[in-house]
C-alpha cells in the first residue's frame, strides 16, 4: 500500500498521464461529473458517481467499424482502426468496476468482439472505494463491496490522503509508473474508513433489497406476471436508464452515407426504444410493456440464466436518479418480489 497527500494529487495525475491518456471524473460544467481526459491542473470531481458509467471506455457510444469508399462504381473497404494508445481510467467506483466483468462475459465470449477486446487490453482501471454512499446505492444487493472495489489498482481516499494498492499486473505497472510521487502507506486509516462506511451501508434505504425472487430459474413466473402492466404504464420509452447504465450492452449497427462512401458504425441502442432490433415487420416487442419487461428480465433473469447466476445489474443507482418518471429496477424488484415463489 502506497499513499500520497491529496495536495499532491495533481502530481499523481501528471505522472499517470505520462505517455498515455488519463481519464478522471471531473465536473462537466453543469454540476455533474463525467470522465474527462486529464490535463494539467484539472481537479477530480467530488461527486460520488459520473452521469455516464465508465463502460464507454471499452464500449463507446459510437464506434466506427468499417469504412467503404466509393469512386464511381468502385468500392474500397477500409478498417478504420488505428493503433490504440494505452490509457488509464482513474476513480472508477466499485459498481462500475464490477460492470466490466459483466461486459466481458458478453463481448469477450466467443465470438470475441475485437474492438472491445483491444480497448480492454489498452486500458488500466484504477478504482476508488466509496466513502459517502448515497440513498440510491444498492450495490450490496448484487454482492458488490463498495469499500473494496475490483480493478487493476484500488484507491482509498481519506480526509487528506489517498491510498493506493495494486491488484493486478497492470495495476502494478501503474503504481510503478507513478511511484515517484508516492510514499509507503499504512493500511490502518483505510481499514478505519472501510469500517466507518460499513456502518453506513445497513442504514441505506435500499440496504435490504433482495434478489431472492430473481435469477435464471424464475423465467416463466416473472415473465407472465400481471404486474408488468402497471410498472410499465408510465414508461416514456426513452433510453435514459439504458445509456446511464454501466451494464447495458445492446448496440445497433448503422451505415452512414457520407457522400464519398459509407461509414459503418455501431452505437448504443436501447431495448426501451420503439425501433430497437427492428426487423422487416418492425420491433418484435410491439408494446412498451414488452420492451420494459425485456430490460428488467434481461438483467434479473436472462443474464443470470446464461452467466452462472450473475445478475446484469451492479446497483449503481444511476437509473434511480435519472429516470424521468422515477421508475427503476428497484421498484420493479420490490413489486415483483414474491411473484416467483
Amino acid at each position: 500500500m502506497f499513499k500520497l497527500s491529496l495536495n499532491n494529487l495533481n502530481d499523481l495525475f501528471k505522472a499517470a498521464a505520462e505517455g498515455g491518456a488519463l481519464y478522471i471524473p471531473a465536473d462537466d460544467g453543469a454540476g455533474q461529473a463525467r470522465f474527462t481526459r486529464w490535463c494539467d491542473g484539472m481537479e477530480m470531481s467530488k461527486a460520488l458517481k459520473t452521469v455516464k458509467s465508465a463502460k464507454e471506455f471499452f464500449f463507446p457510444q459510437t464506434e466506427s467499424l468499417v469504412d467503404f469508399k466509393m469512386k464511381g462504381k468502385e468500392i474500397e473497404i477500409i478498417d478504420p482502426r488505428t493503433e490504440s494508445e494505452d490509457f488509464v481510467v482513474f476513480g472508477v467506483r466499485a459498481c462500475d468496476a464490477r460492470s466490466f466483468s459483466i461486459l466481458d462475459k458478453v463481448f469477450l465470449a466467443d465470438p470475441v468482439d475485437t474492438y472491445y477486446k483491444s480497448r480492454r487490453e489498452h486500458g488500466t482501471i484504477v478504482t476508488m472505494a466509496c466513502s459517502r454512499p448515497e440513498e440510491t446505492c444498492f450495490c450490496t444487493a448484487f454482492g458488490v463491496d463498495p469499500t473494496a472495489p475490483e480493478g487493476d489498482a484500488v484507491c482509498y481516499m481519506t480526509e487528506d490522503e489517498l491510498f493506493i494498492e495494486a491488484k493486478t499486473e497492470k495495476g502494478t505497472a501503474f503504481v510503478e509508473k507513478v511511484k515517484a510521487v508516492l510514499t509507503d502507506g499504512d493500511a490502518a486509516p483505510v481499514e478505519a474508513q472501510k469500517a466507518a462506511v460499513k456502518e453506513i451501508l445497513p442504514k441505506l434505504p435500499l440496504a435490504n433489497l433482495s434478489t431472492d425472487s430473481f435469477g435464471g430459474d424464475k423465467l416463466m413466473e416473472l415473465f407472465d406476471s400481471p404486474k408488468w402492466a402497471e410498472l410499465s404504464a408510465s414508461c416514456l420509452g426513452c433510453g435514459t436508464c439504458t445509456f446511464v447504465c454501466p451494464t447495458c450492452q445492446c448496440y445497433d449497427i448503422r451505415d452512414f452515407e457520407t457522400g464519398h462512401g459509407v461509414k459503418r458504425f455501431r452505437c448504443w441502442d436501447s431495448c426501451m426504444f420503439s425501433d430497437f432490433t427492428k426487423m422487416a415487420h418492425g420491433n418484435p416487442r410491439l408494446t412498451q410493456l414488452e420492451r420494459f419487461r425485456q430490460r428488467f428480465m434481461h438483467k434479473l433473469v436472462y443474464f443470470p440464466a446464461n452467466n452462472d447466476g450473475e445478475f446484469g445489474c451492479v446497483g449503481c443507482g444511476r437509473c434511480l436518479s435519472k429516470c424521468p418518471i422515477s421508475m427503476n429496477i428497484v421498484k420493479v424488484m420490490k413489486t415483483l418480489e414474491g411473484e416467483s415463489k
Partner: protein, 147 residues
C-alpha cells in the same frame, strides 16, 4: 474573376422556387449575367417546400452557405407559400444565429422571374460574403468532410 487556384471556393446551395426565382436564374443565364459557379441551384415548386432539414442537410454535407429564393411576397404562384416560408426561415435562421452559426451563411432573397440581374447580383454578393467567412466549421459533419 481573379480567383487564384488555391483560394477558398465555397459551396453554395440555392433553393429556388420554380415560378419566380428559378425563372429569374434562367433569365440571368439568358442575359449572360455572370455569377460564380460555386452556386448550385435546386428547383423546388415553391419556397414553402423548403424544409429546414434541407438547409441543415446542406451544411452537413459541406455547404458553406445556403440561400433560399422565392417569389416576392404577394406574388406567390400558390398565393401564400412564400409567406409561410418567410416565417419559417426567419425563425430557423434566427435559431442558427442563436446557436452561434455565422448568420451571414444563410439568406433569403425574393427574386421575380423578371429579375435576372437581381439574381446574379445577389449570388455575386452572397458568394463574396461566404468566401470572406471561409469554410463552414460550426455546422459541419466531419464524417462528410473526409475525402
Amino acid at each position: 474573376m481573379q480567383v487564384n487556384e488555391k483560394e477558398f471556393k465555397p459551396t453554395i446551395v440555392a433553393f429556388c422556387c420554380n415560378w419566380c426565382s428559378y425563372a429569374g436564374a434562367d433569365l440571368a443565364g439568358t442575359n449572360r449575367l455572370n455569377y460564380p459557379a460555386d452556386v448550385k441551384i435546386i428547383r423546388v415548386p415553391c419556397s414553402c417546400r423548403v424544409n429546414p432539414m434541407f438547409i441543415l442537410r446542406a451544411f452537413q454535407r459541406g455547404a458553406d452557405g445556403v440561400i433560399m429564393c422565392g417569389c416576392h411576397p404577394g406574388d406567390c404562384h400558390y398565393t401564400t407559400g412564400n409567406y409561410y416560408a418567410r416565417r419559417r426561415m426567419t425563425l430557423l435562421f434566427s435559431m442558427l444565429d442563436y446557436l452561434g452559426i455565422e448568420r451571414e451563411r444563410t439568406r433569403v432573397e425574393w427574386v421575380s422571374a423578371a429579375e435576372g440581374a437581381k439574381f446574379a447580383a445577389t449570388m455575386n454578393e452572397f458568394v463574396e460574403t461566404v468566401t470572406k467567412l471561409g469554410e463552414n466549421k460550426r455546422l459541419e459533419d466531419l464524417r462528410c468532410k473526409e475525402k
